[in-house]
């Protein structure tokens, strides 16, 4: 029963989202209003690692923890792209991951959104010009929102997702 005593002692650890740092989140395309309306309060996210160094993944892992808690916004991670509404893509798209990324996008039913996380996903970051990469995520699939950072903080990633959904004003 130690675990319950500890739970009670710690209490709710979730923090409110801070203000968005400038120049971090960019909306790349016009996002379909129907998509935003449909995905209002229940969004399933499929995370795709298109060749990243896993720095962004470590930050994304924090999102489902108590401090950042993406579930309070109605977001949750899913395993299959068929269940997903939003693809969270990291990494410069390596040559080996180009086709799988494309297949993941095709396997996701409409309406869907894509959020590219990290400098690598935006423009290959430190790997730009390498023989092993194809380009940013937008070279393979259409991207809606990019989040800059190497890696971006979990709060910023979360704000990027909420921006894609058009819900940034509600921070709770």
């Amino acid at each position: 029963m130690n675990v319950f005593r500890k739970i009670l002692r710690v209490g709710i650890a979730t923090e409110d989202l801070p203000a968005v740092p400038p120049d971090t989140i960019a909306v790349v395309r016009d996002i379909d209003a129907r998509a935003r309306r449909l995905l209002g309060r229940a969004v399933a996210i499929r995370q795709v690692d298109a060749g990243s160094c896993n720095g962004c993944e470590l930050e994304i892992t924090g999102l489902s923890g108590p401090v950042y808690d993406l579930e309070r916004f109605g977001l949750h991670f899913v395993a299959s792209p068929r269940h997903a509404d939003l693809l969270l893509v990291t990494g410069p798209v390596t040559r080996n991951m180009e086709v799988p990324l494309r297949k993941t996008w095709e396997a996701t039913p409409d309406p869907k959104l894509v959020v590219a996380v990290g400098d690598c996903a935006r423009d290959c970051g430190v790997f730009a010009g390498s023989y092993a990469v194809v380009g940013g995520v937008d070279a393979v699939i259409p991207v809606d929102v990019t989040v800059r950072g190497c890696p971006p903080e979990p709060a910023v990633i979360l704000q990027g997702i909420l921006t894609a959904l058009g819900r940034l004003e509600g921070r709770r």
Binding site: S80, P81, R82, V99, P100, L101, K103, T104, E106, A107, P109, D110
Partner: protein, 678 residues
């Protein structure tokens, strides 16, 4: 005597004889047509005869004392108990005949279809006559004819060693069983009283308890072996797959039921029931048979052998009901006994229906793809939709899922056991509780087995070029399969009439309470003392209505389009059949859970290059074998012992004519001594 039953009887006999005579026809096509038509007509006549006997107070009595007078002549007496099994045999014959006509075209040119149809007709005729046999001699004669004709059918594909070995196993075991049955009849006094069942029944009252017990054990061994009781069932998984599929249907659906018939006839009718341990033994045999059957069916890759083991499982369930009936009768609970026997008989009828469906469906798969190995099948639902639909219906029925007939009889078995537990002593209650657990586990494992059988064979993508090139069955085969499949929901909907007929058939048999030969019409199956009530007639439309309503509401709620996209495989490129689940893989978790029973052996051989360095691997061979425990524990030692004795006896065959003459003279002296001595 020109009564209707007698007329129907002669029509049935004539129809089967005509089908057999068709073997003499000059063209194979005529043989097949005459054979199929005769079989169907015989089946229809037999079914009509059985229904007539069951629903009216008519019965059939036919005596021919001059035929084979030295053995007491032939006596036929079809009473209601026999009529139930005649109905099963005839009911199965109709779709089998319809199907077999076209199915046997694939045997043309390779094997003799004349001989096949002759034996099929002889098989059906002898099975029908067994149900009506009225004396021990008639019974044994028809039983042996049944065994011989089915043996000849098992070895139809005589160039395959597997079929011939299956035939040998079958021949040996059926004759061993016949010996036991004859010994049982002999002990009952058949030799002295002339052997008619009426006289045996009267004589049984005077038999000492030890003789009755011996008769019971011999009957259980002999009839049980025919029915498929573990460990005497080993011929079944060999013989049923080897025979042509429509004959496998006849064997699984009809012939094994005659084993049950023999058991009921001897133990319940002639002997009039016995002490409590009879019922206990049969329950234990039934539980063991059911669990062994389903566990071995689960790990089978060969579709027909899976169905054969599933027959063993269902026979186990029927025996559980029979044993419960014998037990309750000996404890003085006639109402509970009738319920248990009725449940067993209902399961026999239902099993005949869905096993026929499944074997005819399996036959269509073999016809379409040429293989029985489920690891080479797949994707048939798009290439052979009717075959797949028929197998789905059979699978749903055999997995005891509502609203089909398998569920009804399994429910009734549960209720029979429940009512027994409520009204018995602690020791019996413990046994019956374990029986309930066995039935439930068997039902669950059967559901898993048939998800595998249907899912791996018919769904997803074809695993071999043979399956990819599959085609639908031709018209008459389709018609036969669909007719058999139609039996399943019909038997579920008409449960009340069927059940009341069966209860009527059990009336006054072996001291069970009397009942009018009536056909009740009703909706809800109710068991006595309001222990439970269930209505398959209500479940079917409510379920269908719920599904239809859901479909309509969902169409209204959402009209979003459907796109096509590759099966999700984590983004890998391309999908091959190697990525699908196989039949062995599907059963693997359960195989691990029950590994103590299966004792699988696994061999991994790593082949290296010529340098013999262990790091340069050229090939890895993996073999997994499952040698059944009864084979290992019972038959292998037995066969080894027989071979050892035979090997030693071979020394008598010295090749010297003088030695053989000496043996003959010695034998003559001994015989003369015996004759003079007595």
């Amino acid at each position: 005597m020109t009564s209707l039953p007698l007329l129907l009887f002669w029509v049935m006999v004539a129809a089967y004889a005509l089908a057999a005579a068709g073997a003499l026809a000059p063209m194979p096509r005529l043989t097949r047509s005459v054979g199929a038509a005769g079989t169907m007509l015989g089946g229809a006549a037999g079914l009509a005869l059985a229904c007539l006997v069951l629903w009216t107070s008519d019965s059939l009595a036919l005596e021919a004392p001059d035929v084979l007078a030295v053995a007491g002549g032939l006596i036929f007496h079809l009473d209601r108990l026999g009529a139930v099994f005649l109905a099963i045999v005839s009911g199965v014959a109709i779709p089998v005949g319809l199907y077999g006509g076209q199915y046997t075209t694939s045997y043309d040119g390779r094997y003799s279809t004349r001989w096949m149809w002759f034996n099929t007709s002889a098989f059906l005729l002898s099975m029908s006559l067994v149900t009506g046999a009225g004396s021990a001699f008639t019974f044994a004669l028809c039983w042996e004819l049944m065994a011989l004709s089915s043996f000849l059918l098992v070895i139809v594909e005589h160039d395959r060693e597997e079929s011939v070995r299956a035939g040998l196993w079958y021949l040996a075991m059926t004759h061993a069983g016949l010996l036991a049955i004859l010994a049982a009849f002999f002990l009952m006094g058949a030799a002295s009283t002339g052997g008619s069942f009426a006289s045996l029944r009267d004589a049984a009252a005077q038999l000492p308890a030890g003789t009755k017990n011996a008769v019971f054990l011999l009957a259980l061994a002999g009839f049980g072996s025919k029915a498929g009781v573990v460990p005497l069932h080993v011929w079944l998984p060999r013989a049923h797959p080897a025979a042509p599929s429509h004959v496998s249907a006849l064997m699984s659906a009809a012939m094994v039921k005659l084993g049950i018939y023999g058991l009921l006839r001897v133990c319940l009718d002639l002997l009039g029931g016995g002490p409590t341990w009879w019922g206990t033994l049969v329950i234990l045999c039934g539980a063991g048979t059911a669990l062994t059957g389903v566990l071995y069916a689960l790990v089978e890759d060969d579709l027909k052998r899976l169905l054969a083991y599933s027959t063993v499982e269902n026979v186990g369930l029927i025996l559980l009901g029979t044993g419960a009936g014998l037990l309750f009768r000996s404890l003085g609970e006639p109402a509970a006994a009738t319920l248990a026997f009725a449940a067993a008989l209902l399961h026999a009828v239902n099993h005949a229906a869905f096993k026929t469906t499944l074997f005819l469906g399996a036959g269509s798969i073999i016809h379409a793809t040429g293989t029985r190995n489920m690891n080479l099948l797949g994707g048939l639902i798009k290439r052979a939709p009717w075959t797949s639909a028929v197998i789905l219906v059979g699978a749903l029925a055999i997995a005891a899922l509502p609203p089909l007939n398998g569920f009804v009889s399994e429910w009734l078995l549960f209720q029979a056991f429940l009512s027994g537990v409520a009204r018995s002593q602690a020791s019996m209650a413990a046994l019956l509780t374990l029986g309930v657990g066995a039935i439930a586990l068997t039902g669950g494992l059967a559901a898993a087995t048939f998800v595998k059988a249907f899912g791996i064979s018919c769904l997803a993508i074809p695993r071999s070029p043979a399956a990819a090139g599959a085609h639908e069955s031709p018209g008459l085969m389709k018609a036969g399969m669909v007719l058999a499949a139609a039996y399943c929901p019909l038997l579920a909907v008409f449960t009340i009439p069927v059940l009341s007929t069966l209860t009527g058939a059990l009336a006054t048999v072996g001291g069970l309470p009397a009942a009018e030969p009536s056909v009740a019409i009703g909706v809800t199956v109710k068991t006595g003392h309001s222990m439970g009530a269930m209505s398959p007639v209500v479940i079917l439309p409510v379920l269908a209505g719920a599904i239809a309503l859901t479909w309509m509401l969902v169409r209204l709620a959402s009209r979003r389009p459907v796109h096509s996209g590759d099966t999700w495989g984590c983004g890998r490129i391309g999908q091959t059949p190697r990525m699908e689940y196989t039949s062995a893989a599907f059963a693997e978790p359960l195989r691990r859970v029950f590994s103590e029973m299966y004792r699988p052996t696994e061999d991994t051989a790593v082949g290296t290059t010529r340098d013999a360095s262990p790091y340069y691997i050229q090939s890895v061979t993996y073999q997994a074998r499952l040698h059944p425990w009864f084979q290992r524990a019972v038959y292998d030692p037995l066969i080894a012992a027989v071979e050892a004795v035979a090997g030693r006896t071979r020394r008598l065959q010295s090749g010297s004519v003088n030695a053989y003459l000496t043996y003959m003279v010695l034998a003559l002296i001994v015989l003369l001594g015996i004759v003079i001595g007595f």
